[in-house]
């Protein structure tokens, strides 16, 4: 039905002005065209304005797409007019539209953030390169969630990965180079594994279209080739998703990247990989094969629980704020993969709603750290000492974001955890619910360390002076605005959780219903 309506739409478009049928392509093409334009014009001001404008446009397009998908079902777009499964098809599902909405929102807000040129190693006259790479990364991440073609997913994965290596390497600290290099090695292994998996499955089914392959796979599901292909896909994605114990690249990458890049990647890159993993597990292979026949849950569940504890415990001992947030991300990703491994509607809903809730929370917190770094010149936990009076808005933003990481009721983090506990209870695993609660207590510890420093810490000696020896003041408005919007979103969607939860739930139902097995 959906395919028919889009088909009719494509015929009508020549007559009417219904340009929105092209939105799936436009969503990817906009940043993809803007990136070389930034590169060509070599102007930092032009690149800045263009990239921000494009990011907001993609956000608008994502909103329209989400509404359309919710109203009409899956939106299909044949590239070049070649119908699937022969041509490459862009297929926007509820889950996909949800993910691109989060990615484009985070991109738009981080590009709104004015880093005041203090952030990257690039000389001012070459800073347009930063925006070019940023847009390419955005295009890759959006493409991964939109395309319905496995090889296309790989291509977009590489576009986003390569540009994110470049972006991370731009961090001012020289250790950014090493962080970027180790991410490059791990990311390339991950991408390579994904590619090998796609190759093996293509060999067995003769198709690259996800839906078409899902129909052909059951016939060859008991072959070893398919099993190996699935393993390669899963491990490759697990590296990109930083599933414990494949998370080692993440802390350094997020710590040493330029501030806005940390904020952007922390809110988006792993989330898109999560979506692709959900699509591979539930749409391509089907929950029955993955969880009943080969028992992935027995592997993914303990690893998720381990990630929750290892990530949160490591976060407690970090002296650097960005590293603290990065380790916290590993723990939070554990909640998301735990939801996936439950393989029920509540669990997957919690994972998908956490894509938004954690994306907004963590990006907001990284921007808070960027504000602190701009005024104090440092990003250690110590540098927050006494900021409660000197940077009140920034401090409050950290407290609210931190509460969302813990999962305090009234914040977005609570919504995800509540749903996750419901999922654990629905799966009749009471101990998992207990584990989620206990691990949240660890988050209390690492968040409280910072909060204590903000409100009860006393800056000593030169610590009371900010960068360039000036007294520390509140961050400028152009930095504060996007930070506060993100943090406010965690409260708004913590209290008013109907829209996020209902979209995530219909996405979960759709993914679970799409089981090919």
């Amino acid at each position: 039905m959906a395919a028919e309506s889009v088909g009719q739409g494509l015929q009508q478009v020549a007559l009417s002005t219904a340009f929105d049928v092209h939105f799936p392509a436009l969503e990817v093409v906009l940043p993809l065209v803007a990136a070389p334009l930034c590169f060509l014009f070599r102007s930092r001001a032009f690149a800045r304005i263009l990239s921000a404008a494009v990011a907001w446009l993609t956000f608008g397009v994502a909103l329209v797409l989400l509404q359309k998908v919710l109203a009409e079902g899956t939106v299909r777009y044949p590239l070049g007019g070649w119908a699937a499964p022969y041509g490459i098809e862009y297929r926007v599902t509820v889950a996909g539209a949800w993910v691109i909405l989060v990615v484009s929102l985070v991109a738009a807000l981080t590009l709104l953030f004015d880093s005041r040129g203090s952030a990257s190693r690039l000389a001012p006259e070459r800073r347009y390169l930063y925006y070019s790479a940023f847009l390419l990364c955005l295009a890759g991440l959006l493409g991964m969630a939109i395309t319905g073609d496995l090889f296309n997913i790989f291509v977009f994965l590489e576009i986003s990965s390569l540009s994110s290596y470049a972006l991370i390497a731009l961090g001012r600290d020289r250790r950014a180079l090493m962080a970027s290099y180790s991410y490059l090695i791990m990311g390339t292994i991950g991408g390579g594994f994904f590619m090998i998996g796609v190759g093996l499955l293509y060999q067995m089914t003769g198709t690259l279209n996800v839906e078409d392959m899902a129909q052909r796979l059951p016939a060859v599901l008991d072959t070893r080739t398919v099993l190996v292909g699935f393993a390669f896909l899963l491990v490759g994605l697990s590296i990109k998703l930083a599933v414990f114990p494949l998370h080692q690249w993440l802390p350094n990458a997020y710590t040493f990247a330029p501030p806005r890049v940390s904020a952007f990647l922390a809110g988006t890159a792993t989330k898109v990989s999560y979506y692709v993993m959900a699509e591979v597990v539930f749409v391509l292979f089907g929950a029955h094969f993955v969880f009943t026949e080969i028992g992935l849950g027995a592997v993914l569940m303990p690893l998720s629980v381990a990630a929750m504890f290892v990530g949160s415990l490591a976060a407690i001992y970090q002296a650097d704020l960005r590293r603290l947030l990065a380790y916290s991300s590993i723990g939070q990703l554990g909640y998301m993969t735990l939801g996936l491994s439950l393989a029920n509607v509540e669990g997957l809903t919690s994972g998908l709603v956490h894509v938004f809730n954690h994306g907004v929370t963590k990006s907001g917190l990284f921007l808070v750290v960027a504000c602190v770094g701009y005024r104090t010149g440092r990003t250690t936990v110590r540098s927050m000492a006494g900021l409660g009076t000197r940077m009140p808005a920034t401090s409050l933003a950290f407290v609210i974001g931190g509460m969302s990481l813990i999962g305090v009721p009234g914040t977005a983090g609570f919504v995800s955890k509540w749903e996750l506990i419901r999922g654990a209870l629905a799966a009749e695993r009471l101990w998992l619910a207990a584990v989620v609660l206990v691990s949240s207590l660890l988050a209390v510890v690492y968040v409280w360390r910072v909060v204590e420093m903000i409100y009860f810490g006393r800056p000593e000696g030169l610590e009371s002076l900010g960068r360039d020896g000036e007294p520390v003041r509140e961050a400028p408005f152009s930095m504060l605005l996007p930070t506060l919007i993100l943090v406010a979103a965690t409260v708004v969607f913590g209290l008013w959780s109907d829209p996020t939860l209902s979209v995530a739930r219909s996405a979960a139902v759709e993914l679970l219903g799409g089981a090919g097995g």
């Binding site: 092209h22 093409v29 993809l32 065209v33 070389p36 060509l40 777009y77 044949p78 007019g81 070459r126």
Partner: protein, 163 residues
């Protein structure tokens, strides 16, 4: 071997490419044919195996070979760093531009039939592959400049190191 007393004297190191007469003559002979073959692969790609990516790699390979034998600066006289950078962007824009044009003509992204009912498919793929070829050749060349030149971000002063 360089020591503390002074710089390397030109005619001392045995492995200088500029002294490899056989390689130099061979490379000089081969370069135009590699470039020509790249163009063949580029335009033959419409009808058979080949296409923009392979052609771009071949084209850049010819430039890299020439650069290895006669110095990066000689290649940069033909394709300066700035030109290679512009070509990277132009290649991508040519590809995407065809797609955007078909969009604006009311068809799907990259639906070449929108360009012309009769020749659309041919023109479309020709332009797209040209875009790919330009972007790939320029990117490979720029990568070679980045690794093969002491001043990767700028063009050396004219005549420096020239032979």
């Amino acid at each position: 071997m360089a020591d503390e007393r002074g710089p390397v004297v030109d005619d001392e190191p045995p492995m200088r490419m500029r002294e490899q007469i056989v390689l130099q003559v061979g490379g000089r002979l081969l370069t135009p044919f590699i470039l020509l073959f790249a163009l063949y692969v580029q335009f033959h790609g419409d009808f058979g195996p080949g296409g923009g990516f392979q052609a771009g790699v071949l084209f850049a390979a010819a430039l890299v070979l020439f650069g290895l034998l006669f110095g990066v600066d000689r290649v940069q006289q033909v394709i300066p760093v700035s030109v290679s950078e512009v070509m990277i962007a132009v290649g991508v824009l040519l590809y995407a531009g065809v797609g955007v044009t078909t969009l604006l003509l009311g068809s799907a992204f990259l639906d070449y039939d929108a360009l012309s009912a009769e020749h659309g498919q041919h023109w479309g793929i020709l332009l797209v592959e040209a875009g790919v070829g330009i972007a790939v050749a320029a990117t490979m060349t720029r990568l070679y400049y980045a690794f093969g030149s002491l001043h990767p971000d700028s063009e050396p002063a004219a005549g420096e190191h020239g032979e």
